[in-house]
Amino acid sequence: MFSLIENEVIKMISKKRLMFVLAILVVLISIFAYGQNQTLVRTKAQLSQRMGITATDDWRKLADQQLIDMKNRLDSPYMDEKSKSSSRVRMEQLQYNLDNNINPLEQSAAKFTTKFMEQAIFLFLPLLIIMLSADMVSGESSNGTIKLLLVRNVPRWKILLSKYLTLVILEVLIVFLAFVLSAIISGFFFGFGGWQAPVATGFKVLAGKLDSSSVLNVPQWQYSLMVYSLGFFVAFVVGSISFMISILVKSTAASIGIIMSTLVAGNFISFFLSDWKITRYMFMVNLRLTDYLSGSFQPIEGMNMLFSITILLGWAIASTIISFVYFTKQDILV
C-alpha cells in the first residue's frame, strides 16, 4: 500500500501540477497581502481625513467612525432587509470589540493568515483542490494508463484507495502550506506577531440578531487553528466529490468543468436562491464554515455549524462510497 501511495506521489510531482498549484497559492497570497496592506493604508487615510485626526493609532475613534458609517448606510433606503440585518450583526460585533478593547483595524500576520483562509475556504481553496483531484482518475483514463494499474496483481479497491489517500495527503499539504505561506508572506507586510491577540468567537445568530451570550475570547493562534481545520475539512469534502466526478467522467476537461461550474453556481445560489429551502442541502452553499466562527451572517437562514458539517460529511461519504463501488465494478474500455 505504501509503495502504491509513493507511486501516486511521484506521478503527482512529475506532472508539475502540484508545483503549479503551489505557485498560484504564493502569487495569490502575495497579492492578497499587498491588497490588504493598501486597504489598511487607505482606510486609515480616509478616516483621518474625514475625522481630522492624525493619530490613526487611536483605533477607538476609527471604530466609532465605522459604526457611524454603518449606521448611516443602514438608514439608506437602497439597502435590502438582508444586508441590513447582516450590517446590524457586524455593528454589534464592532461594539463588542470596543467594549472589550479588541482593535479591529490592526493587522498582523496572525490575523491575515486567518483572514486568508476565511476568504479562500469557499472558492479558492476548493479550486486548488479540484485542480489536483479532478484528473487523478480521469487523467489516467484519458491517457490509457489506467489499464497499467488495473491489470496488475493488486485489487482495484487498493489502487483506488492509494489514490484517495494520496489526495488526502495533498489536501493536508495544501492547507498546511496555505497557512505557512500566508504567515510568512504577510509577515513581511504586517510583522510576524499577533498570535496571542484575543479573538472573539462563539457568536450565534438568532433571528437576525447577534447573540453574544456565548461569545468568548480565544488567542489568535487557536482561532487560526480552528479556521484551518475547517479549511482542511472543506478541502477533504470538495476533494472527495471531485474525486468521484473524476471517476464517473472519463475526460479530465469535462471533470474539471463539471465540478468548477457546480462550485461557482453554488456561490450564485447562496445569494439569489436563498429562499429556496432545498439549496441548503447542496454542498456548495455550506462551504463558508468559518463564518460561523466569526459570527458573520449566513445568507440562508436556519443553517448552523452542525448542520453544515453534517451536510458536507454526508456528501463526502456518499461520494466516496459511489467512487469505490463504481470504480471496482466498471468496465474499462479505454
Partner: protein
Amino acid sequence: MQQTAVLELTNLRKIIKGKEIVKGVNLTLYPSQIFGFLGPNGAGKTTTIRMIVGLIKPTEGSVSICGYSVAHDFVKAMSNVGCIIESPDMYKYLTGMENLLQYAAMDKTISQQRIKDVVEMVGLQHRLNDKVGTYSLGMRQRLGIAQAILSRPKLLILDEPTNGLDPAGMTEFRNLIRKLAYEEGMTVFVSSHLLLEIQQMCDIVSIIKQGRVIKTVNVQDILHDTQIEWQLSDPERAILLLAEHWNIVATQLKKNTISADISQHPLDKINEFFIREGIALTYCSTKQNTLEDLFLDLTEGDQIV
C-alpha cells in the same frame, strides 16, 4: 503428459450496449506455446483480451489463468500475467525508467538487475532516462514489452505488439518472443491482424471473425506445406513419372510448371529422381501462403462491423 493449462477460456461472451461483440470463445493454452489471435479489424480481439485480464467482465463464460479464475481470484490470476492492451500507454511525463519503476513498485519480486536485463533485452538502454513523451511509437512499444515481461509472467499477452516496430525491431521482437517461450517457458498470446507476423512467430493460430473463432490451426501443419511447384524441362513426362513412381497426382500450371501435393514424400528424393530421369530442374518452391489463403477465404467479403 497432463499439463495444467496456462490460459483457459470457456464459452466467453461479451455484450456491449446490446451488441454481441464476442460470441463464445473457447481456448486452452499450455506452457511454452506461442499463440496467434488473428482477425480483421473489429473482430473482437481486444475485447477478448480485456476480458482475459479482467478489465471488463464477461457477460457469460469464464477465464482462468494458471488455474485461478480471474473473476474470483483476481490477484492470484493476475500475478501470472504481463500484458500490453491496445497500445503501449505509458506515463508521458515520466521517463522510461520511472515508468518501469512505477511498475516494479507494485511487485516486490522485481529486482533492479531484472529491470536492467529487460531494458537491454528490448534495446532501450540509451533512451531510458528520457521522458516517454519524447519517444517514438516503436520505442514506446519496446517499453511496453519491457514492462510486460518485467515480472516474468507465465502468460504474456500482447495486443498488436509489432505496431510501429521497424523491420529490425520486428526480427528482434520475434527472437525475443521465441526465447521467452522456448527458454523461459512463457506462454505468449499475440493478437494481430497482420498475417505474416503471426505466421512467422506462432505455433497455434486462431482466426476470429465477428466475435467468433472460426478456425484454430497448428501453424507447423500448414506451413510444412506439401504443395510444391516445379519448373522443369519436360512437364508431361514429369507428371507421368510422379504418378507412376510416387503415386502423386500433379497438374500442369503453366508451360513449364507443374504443381503437386507430395504429402509425406520427401522432396529431396523426388528432385533427385527427376534428375536421374534426365529432367532438367530449373526451379522448385513450396507454396508459402496457405495461411494467408485460409485467412482470406475465411474473412473474405466481410465488412468491418
